[in-house]
């Protein structure tokens, strides 16, 4: 069982030291990633999903800083690793795919070179020509048509969808053990999105690796992921196998979120927690949801709840809901 675990994220806290104060974006991130699985990491904008991806590879840019926690990979803690060793792991063992390709590609370098350069960073002996050839192959695998010619074009000459595949090729060319996909497919149209996710899924099965799919698209999670983790205010509030999560959500926030997705045309009856944002500059005490939660009891304001196992593979950060297994909200 433990051999299956590729990545252990333990109580990671990341803060941003801005002029307006300390913004606590990750407040104790805990989860595990197993071999061969795709884990869906979902949550509303601002819940800390992207920062989670960057924290895992210890690549949070200033003014952000990881202030606590562990990220255990291959027996080592990435948060306490010297920069040169980290550099080798990034892009080779754990690779990040991001959305918004316009801003994540170098405008002055051909896309083929940019893909090849990632490979050369980790395998300098391959040589430029061979690296470029492999980049072309990878671009083709990522679904870029006419890859030989496109590899010689610059980012501004490609459409958003094509540029997105370049970012995907940059991440996958090192054949990483773990792929972190941060909202990487939402800019693509549906058929291409499918195609790209299928490629990732095939790669993961072939190499017995794993992926974390960060997305707003619950459909993608339902189709591709084995497990799902829902974030709120920088912590996971519920983690479960995909079927269980969609069929039987327990945390009041998860219940409310799924209800709002299902009935998005009509306003849901009763108070909804979906869309209630926590301000990371001034998080409420205890459970960050307690000011607007219909289940709140006095103790919710006093102490931050722990993640409670209500089944062997189902965890909920709400003692009230977990205790009674009560279902709330519009269902």
């Amino acid at each position: 069982m433990t051999d299956d675990v590729l990545l252990r994220v333990r109580d990671v806290k990341t803060q941003f030291f801005t002029s307006r104060g300390v913004s606590s974006v990750l407040n104790g991130l805990d989860f595990e990633l197993r071999r061969g699985e795709m884990l869906g990491l979902i949550g509303e904008t601002g819940s800390g999903k992207s920062v989670a991806a960057r924290s895992i590879i210890n690549a949070v840019e200033p003014p952000g800083r990881i202030v606590a926690g562990k990220v255990l990979f291959a027996g080592r803690d990435l948060l306490r690793m010297p920069e040169p060793a980290l550099r080798e792991i990034r892009g080779r063992d754990i690779a990040l795919i991001v959305g918004d390709p316009r801003r994540h590609l170098n405008p002055l370098t051909t896309v083929g070179e940019q893909v090849a350069n990632v490979l050369l960073a980790h395998h300098p002996l391959i040589g430029k020509r061979e690296a470029f050839n492999r980049a072309v192959e990878m671009l083709r695998d990522a679904g870029l048509q006419d890859a030989e010619a496109r590899a010689r074009s610059y980012p501004h000459q490609l459409s958003g969808g094509m540029a997105q595949r370049v970012l995907i090729a940059m991440a996958l060319i090192g054949a990483p053990t773990i792929v972190l996909s941060d909202d990487a497919t939402s800019s693509l149209d549906v058929t291409i999105q499918r195609q790209v996710l299928d490629i990732m899924k095939a790669l993961i099965q072939k190499q017995n690796s794993a992926a974390i799919i960060i997305t707003h698209d619950l459909g993608v999670v339902a189709h591709y992921c084995e497990r799902v983790a829902l974030m709120y205010a920088g912590r996971i509030v519920e983690e479960a196998p995909v079927r269980t999560f969609f069929a039987n959500p327990v945390h009041p926030y998860a219940v409310s979120l799924l209800a709002s997705v299902r009935t998005h045309a009509e306003p849901s009856a009763g108070p909804s927690l979906a869309g209630v944002r926590a301000n990371p500059l001034r998080l409420p005490s205890g459970c960050p949801l307690h000011p607007s939660c219909p289940l709140a009891v006095p103790s919710c304001a006093a102490e931050a709840p722990e993640l409670v196992a209500i089944a062997s593979d189902h965890f909920v950060r709400c003692p009230v809901a977990a205790g009674g297994r009560i279902r709330v909200g519009a269902a």
Partner: protein, 336 residues
């Protein structure tokens, strides 16, 4: 092919551009107070003498006629005669332009060679000692006038340590200028195999070139540093780090993406220095363009002033054409 077409178009544009500049210059110069005839004749001249001189210079003709004559002569390569040096202006310029160009070309090359690596290195390691030293240098280079450093160099290197020859022009008094090929002494003497003159000319160049480069590099360092920092902050550079790219790869991207503004600063400084290095030229008795222009203004010497402005304008237009072509090489998004 489009590049060739674009270049030809820009070169063809030079004609009308220079014509417009000559028109403006011609009339503006005549607004400078001072009558050249009076300057030539001296304070004790009679009105008859003055009128005689004016007639000889053509100053009695209507000003439009004067302009037409000036244009006709210029087209035949005759820019008139300097009233002050009594030499044909073209001949004066052929001596002075290479003097200044040799000085400022070496200066800017050296400044780029110092400024770009320093700016890049200090931006890549923003908290290092090198970065702080570079910052201090950028401030120092910008805070003092260039002739201050010139005098400082002369005091230390010539007067105190006697490492370099006296700052008295392009060659020591006992040396003879190499046969004229380009007017650039280093080039001309090297072509001739005259290594003694080459060495003498090089030694004379060290202090003025060092001074100009020291000042110009300050601006280049600052610009390189600021642009590289901006580039390093860009999302795509953060993404490169997130994918484990090596420091040399990051540095290469950073430099390449910062090049356009840096080239602009170098080109601006270069074209400014053509006339603007006058203080350095004066301190080192260089006999360059800047000195020639200032002297012409003071003596109400119309012909050299007109020729100087036209020459500087043509030079600047060519520099800007070169800069635009360099942008084309650097940035694939640029098209003309």
């Amino acid at each position: 092919m489009t590049v060739v077409y674009y270049t030809l178009k820009r070169l063809l544009m030079l004609g009308p551009q220079l014509l417009a500049i000559s028109l403006v210059t011609f009339f503006l110069i005549r607004l400078i107070p001072g009558n050249p005839a009076a300057v030539i004749a001296g304070p004790l001249a009679t009105p008859e003498t003055l009128a005689g001189i004016e007639a000889r210079l053509g100053l009695d003709k209507p000003i439009t006629t004067q302009y037409v004559i000036f244009l006709q002569n210029s087209l035949h390569g005759d820019f008139g005669t300097s009233w002050y040096t009594s030499q044909p202006v073209l001949q004066d310029l052929l001596v002075r332009a290479p003097a200044t160009l040799e000085l400022i070309t070496w200066s800017l090359l050296l400044a780029a060679l110092i400024g770009i690596p320093l700016g890049l290195a200090s931006a890549l390691r923003p908290h290092s000692f090198l970065s702080r030293a570079t910052h201090a240098y950028g401030l120092l280079g910008g805070a003092f006038p260039d002739f201050f450093f010139a005098l400082l160099f002369i005091y230390v290197l010539f007067f105190k340590l006697n490492l370099l020859p006296a700052p008295m022009g392009r060659l020591p008094a006992n040396a003879v200028a190499p046969p004229h090929v380009t007017g650039f002494y280093l080039f001309d003497s090297a072509v001739n195999g005259d290594w003694a003159t080459f060495r003498a000319a090089a030694l004379q160049l060290i202090m003025p070139v060092g001074t100009l480069a020291f000042v110009a590099a300050g601006a280049i360092v600052k610009m390189t540093n600021a642009t590289v920092r901006d580039v390093l902050d860009a999302r795509f550079m953060a993404h490169c780090r997130a994918l484990g790219m090596t420091s040399p790869q990051i540095a290469r991207y950073a430099l390449r993406n910062s090049l356009s503004p840096v080239v602009t600063v170098i080109a601006n400084t270069y074209s400014y220095a053509l006339g603007g290095a006058v203080l350095i030229e004066t301190v080192f008795a260089w006999g360059g363009m800047g000195q020639y222009a200032v002297q012409s203004v003071l003596q109400a010497d119309y012909a050299p002033l007109q020729a100087f402005v036209l020459f500087v304008a043509a030079f600047n237009l060519l520099i800007y054409l070169a800069v635009d072509l360099i942008y084309l090489l650097i940035d694939p998004r640029v098209s003309y």
